[in-house]
């Protein structure tokens, strides 16, 4: 079945949006983001659902929500991969990132990356999945997050509070010093 171009475009946009969101989204919100009516969205969802039949990614519709998810028959595979992600050592990059959050959390991804000098998205994702750090809303900027240790973190390190970590005050101050001396961003546009 070949749909008119705008239907096809709506389906493409819908698929991209649901993929990017990675979690169920309200039909009403999809309509708003895509500048379409809710019935157009319903139609595009039906068409997307058909296109994804038999694929590794499926459309899941639940009441007023729709989202993409891995195919049910791949559950054992995904569970196994997830288990692998949760096991094993953190490694050098993981320890470094966790250490920065431990000694100076809550702080933003931008600050963490400035201190480490390298992109830390993937490492942060892994620390989040492992329940070692969590995201909290930035007090002054609702669009961004701060990272901090989870409540379980100190006990797993054998300390009653993160501030009992070795040289806590000294290292915290040194990290603060690095952040304070950061040159002002030149062409940064935050929207």
């Amino acid at each position: 079945m070949s749909l008119p171009t705008n239907h096809q475009q709506l389906e493409t946009s819908l698929e991209a949006l649901l993929f990017y969101k990675g979690e169920p989204v309200k039909i009403r919100d999809l309509a708003a983001s895509l500048h379409a009516s809710e019935s157009d969205i319903q139609n595009a969802l039906s068409s997307l659902g058909t296109a994804l039949e038999g694929r590794g990614i499926r459309l899941v519709r639940e009441g007023e929500y729709a989202g993409l998810a891995t195919a049910p028959e791949t559950k054992s595979l995904i569970d196994a991969v997830r288990k692998e992600e949760l096991e094993g050592p953190l490694g050098k990059a993981g320890l470094e990132t966790l250490a920065i959050i431990l000694y100076h959390g809550p702080l933003s991804k931008t600050d963490i990356e400035y201190i480490r000098g390298v992109n830390s998205s993937s490492i942060l994702r892994s620390l989040l999945i492992r329940g070692l750090v969590e995201k909290t809303e930035h007090p002054s900027d609702k669009r961004s997050f701060l990272y901090r240790g989870t409540p379980e973190l100190p006990a797993s390190l054998g300390i009653s509070s993160l501030s009992d970590a070795p040289d806590f005050e000294k290292i915290k101050a040194e990290i603060q010093n690095i952040l304070d001396e950061r040159p002002a961003p030149t062409e940064e546009t935050h929207e």
Partner: protein
Amino acid sequence: MSGAPFTVSIGEVVGPLDLILTLIEERKMLVSDVSLSKIADDFIQFVKSRDTFPSGEAAHFILVAATLLLIKSRSLLPVLSLTNEEEGDIHDLEKRLALYKIFRDASRVLGTLKERMYFGGLKRDTTPVFSPGSDMNTESLFRAANDVLMRSPKIEKKKEISVKTVISLEDMMNRLSHRIERALSVTFKDFVGTPEDKREIVVGFLAVLELVKRGLLLVDQEKHYSDITINYAGNTAPPRYD
């Protein structure tokens, strides 16, 4: 410098090679000995007009300026024969310009790309399960924090400060003026002596040329590869040293 003073109309100059290409583009010329010799003065004017360079950057600009003046002097004084090293410097600059131009042009195209693909990122269906790593303890985290601090931007900056400094064009020209006034006539070899950095010879030579252009000096070279005699232009019968 001849003509109207060069007004710095250039936006963001990201380096000496970028400056050369921008100056050549402004004249709608192609990269060649001719265009390089034409922009030499403006290049120097730009370097002089800029008070502050990031630490160490000035040296990069001055070394390139020296080579540009060498190219210019060769075009002004065809009898001038350059040493192998000098020829090498020119050749090297031309090669770097050709290479750099490719990337500079390519970067402009990259700057026009407006599309972008996003990976899913952090938001998959992954309810956290508390899973500390086997290598995770206060000691390893303490070491990791210290490793990070060691590599921090503050420390890196300190390392960068020890950049080799190269004599400035202005210094070299002043030195020449004083010496000429005292001795009235010197040979080029006497003037430059035996500096540790051969680039000082180049800069010294170019300074001579600059003063010739300003009408302060007369130069004489009896034959190719022989020493160059430098005379103060106001003196009719300068004594010779050699």
